[in-house]
């Protein structure tokens, strides 16, 4: 056995030992055996992915098999993620992205972007962040926004010669993909209407007597959110050097290529019309009471009906099936962890530890704990519903000004989504591209969220005290 294989077995055994150790430890008072056992399995699954003992799919399948066969979670609840609209939206967005790339429209858009920003890879990174920040207020779903950004970013990576399977060129695509993930999280903190978790949190804050509208939110978020948007492309560039730094001729080459491509083809026209209609449906879904997932499926159906996509194209999307499996499983298990009372229990217990501290210390500790707890969540909305009010209550009881605590938690509920690849369904689209390794996703996720936390604490706190406190 080679040293690497031995090392991998050690990591697998460590994860097994972790699961067994927690499972057989006495059930803490206040929890049920089911909640405790589910935590044992879920924690071991996440740690196994972080330690690179198993891929996400393997860890998820082992986890769901264990909890269902042991009677910890009902089969119907464990498999509920396979029918959840957010999970299905990710799958549909993946397949639609394939059409944008296949017909050449994605390449055309990426050449337009390169002709404007393509003098450097960093410029491309900024173009991703700025585009997302500008379109975000019109999209109440950041998963749908990911569906818009992903095909463009994928085409940008491919147009620059980056391929997931090529070690030499992969990093450029990896940089752009992570820019997409990070931009979705920080843009969601900038605008009240950029993700469904924001109005959910605001409706809970109303119970504390706080009134937060679109303008109040934007004023409060502007300084810290714009700071992260301005700095993150550079920081990610340092953390994950894309390999190609300067491309002085790229803009001119892109313009020549655009001329060579000529007019839009039939397939490009169809995809453009279908895609724009889908974008309009996603943007106005709330007002028109449209299911975002149904909009995506209708669009996908039209692309198949017009032969822009074929069944053979769908057959080739094996990675989509992999993503669907692990996302559905983790989504359901995380939901069950919440419904079995584990999340609320840990939140209440953690916050009970903070008695007697000064309010600034309580504020910082609460915010850090709130962010770290996202390791166990697969949905921003579920996190907000389970913990936002608990943490806001404790903070205000300790003397933290209520608007400061509320805004800090609300903004964190957006930027913490990059903490793990499964931390928000919008991440999954980029994770599934294959450009980013598991190790990179967790490392960059922690560093990105750590940076955002720092900015929101150091810059955001005085700003919030000034404008909202």
């Amino acid at each position: 056995m080679t040293a690497a294989a031995y090392d991998k077995w050690v990591r697998k055994l460590l994860c097994l030992a972790l699961a067994a150790g927690i499972w057989f430890a006495p059930v803490p008072a206040g929890l049920t055996a089911e909640a405790w056992h589910l935590f044992a399995v879920f924690a071991a699954a996440i740690v196994s992915v972080i330690l690179n003992a198993f891929p996400l799919l393997t860890a998820s399948l082992l986890a769901v098999g264990t909890v269902v066969l042991s009677g910890t979670v009902d089969a119907a609840k464990a498999f509920a993620g396979f029918a959840h609209s957010s999970v299905l939206l990710v799958v549909a967005a993946f397949l639609v992205a394939n059409a944008v790339v296949k017909c050449g429209l994605g390449r055309r858009i990426s050449l337009l972007v390169v002709s404007a920003f393509g003098r450097s890879t960093l410029g491309l990174g900024y173009s991703v962040f700025l585009t997302d920040a500008l379109i975000a207020p019109a999209f109440p779903s950041n998963t749908a926004r990911g569906g818009v950004l992903y095909p463009i970013i994928l085409s940008l990576a491919q147009a620059n010669g980056s391929k997931p399977e090529d070690a030499g060129t992969r990093r450029l695509g990896a940089y752009l993909m992570f820019c997409g993930m990070a931009s979705l999280s920080v843009s969601s903190a900038l605008w009240l209407t950029a993700t469904s978790a924001n109005p959910l949190g605001v409706s809970l804050a109303v119970e504390r007597g706080l009134k937060i509208g679109f303008a109040t939110w934007l004023l409060a978020s502007s300084v810290p959110a714009l700071t992260t948007i301005l700095l993150l492309p550079v920081i990610l560039y340092r953390l994950l050097p894309p390999g190609v730094a300067s491309t002085p001729d790229a803009a001119a080459i892109a313009r020549t290529e655009l001329l060579r491509m000529g007019r839009l083809t039939r397939d490009e026209w169809i995809v453009a019309v279908v895609f724009c209609t889908m974008v309009a449906g996603w943007a106005m879904g709330d007002r028109l009471h449209l299911s975002l997932t149904a909009v995506a499926f209708a669009g996908l159906g039209l692309l198949l009906a017009t032969n822009v996509l074929t069944i053979a194209d769908i057959d080739l999307q094996g990675s989509t099936l992999v993503t669907f499996f692990w996302l559905a499983v983790l989504f359901a298990l995380s939901t069950q962890l919440n419904e079995l009372g584990f999340m609320g229990y840990v939140g209440e217990r953690l916050t009970a530890l903070l008695g007697g501290m000064s309010w600034p210390v309580t504020y910082v500790v609460l915010l850090v704990l709130y962010v770290l707890m996202h390791y166990m969540f697969v949905s921003q909305g579920a996190h907000v519903l389970a913990l936002f009010s608990v943490f806001l209550d404790v903070g205000t009881r300790a003397g933290v000004p209520a608007p400061l605590m509320a805004f800090a938690l609300l903004f964190a509920s957006s930027y913490f989504s990059t903490l793990t690849p499964q931390g928000g369904s919008q991440n999954i689209i980029f994770v599934g591209s294959g450009y980013l390794t598991q190790g990179e996703l967790y490392r960059l996720g922690l560093l990105t969220v750590g940076f955002c936390l720092l900015v929101y604490l150091v810059l955001g706190t005085p700003w919030l005290l000034l404008v909202a406190g």
Binding site: A25, P28, G30, L31, A35, H84, Y345, E348, R349, A386
Partner: protein
């Protein structure tokens, strides 16, 4: 993960439940964070009925509390005019259960509910007593999912003697 483990296992308020003799009243306070489903039927512009199923972590405080906390599961019917009627099961870490009946106002923000203990299993066999609480918030999270939080839960319970206990 260590953070979660320590939070779950660590002592937090230093007051373990006192072992009081059976038959004595125990007073307690607490909070309940719940999530689940609610199906609503609109019966007119200002009238709606709903069936709900909520589960979550119920944590108790006070030196006389019967346990540190429970997993609380409730189902019921709620009507904006007729109020709410439900049933609730609290389960502790040993699997022992406390059964109660719920009555009160429609499940919604600020509304008040009264629970009456009607029996239990194991350690809580024959338990009697009552409790009251108010919903701090109840929020629809889309697709029929609902989430709520109760603070200021107050009540008292009397454990039955093991011999003459009622159990359901």
């Amino acid at each position: 993960m260590a953070l979660f483990f320590l939070a779950a296992c660590g002592r937090t308020d230093g007051s373990a439940p006192q072992a009081l003799p059976a038959g004595e009243w125990r007073e307690f306070e607490g909070s309940w964070t719940a999530a689940g489903t609610r199906e609503t039927l609109q019966l007119g512009p200002d009238h709606r009925a709903a069936i709900f199923h909520l589960t979550g972590s119920l944590l108790l405080t006070g030196p006389q509390r019967p346990a540190v906390g429970f997993r609380a599961e409730a189902i019921g019917f709620s009507d904006t005019r007729a109020g709410m009627e439900g049933r609730c099961v609290w389960t502790d870490e040993r699997g022992d259960k406390v059964f109660s009946e719920l009555k009160g106002e429609f499940v919604g923000n600020g509304n008040r509910i009264v629970g009456t203990f009607v029996g239990g299993t194991g350690h809580y066999t024959g338990v009697t007593g009552e409790y009251t609480f108010q919903w701090q918030y109840v929020v629809d999270a889309g697709d029929g999912a609902v989430s709520g939080r109760v603070v200021g839960l107050k009540g008292r319970a009397r454990l039955g003697s093991p011999s003459g206990a009622q159990s359901r």
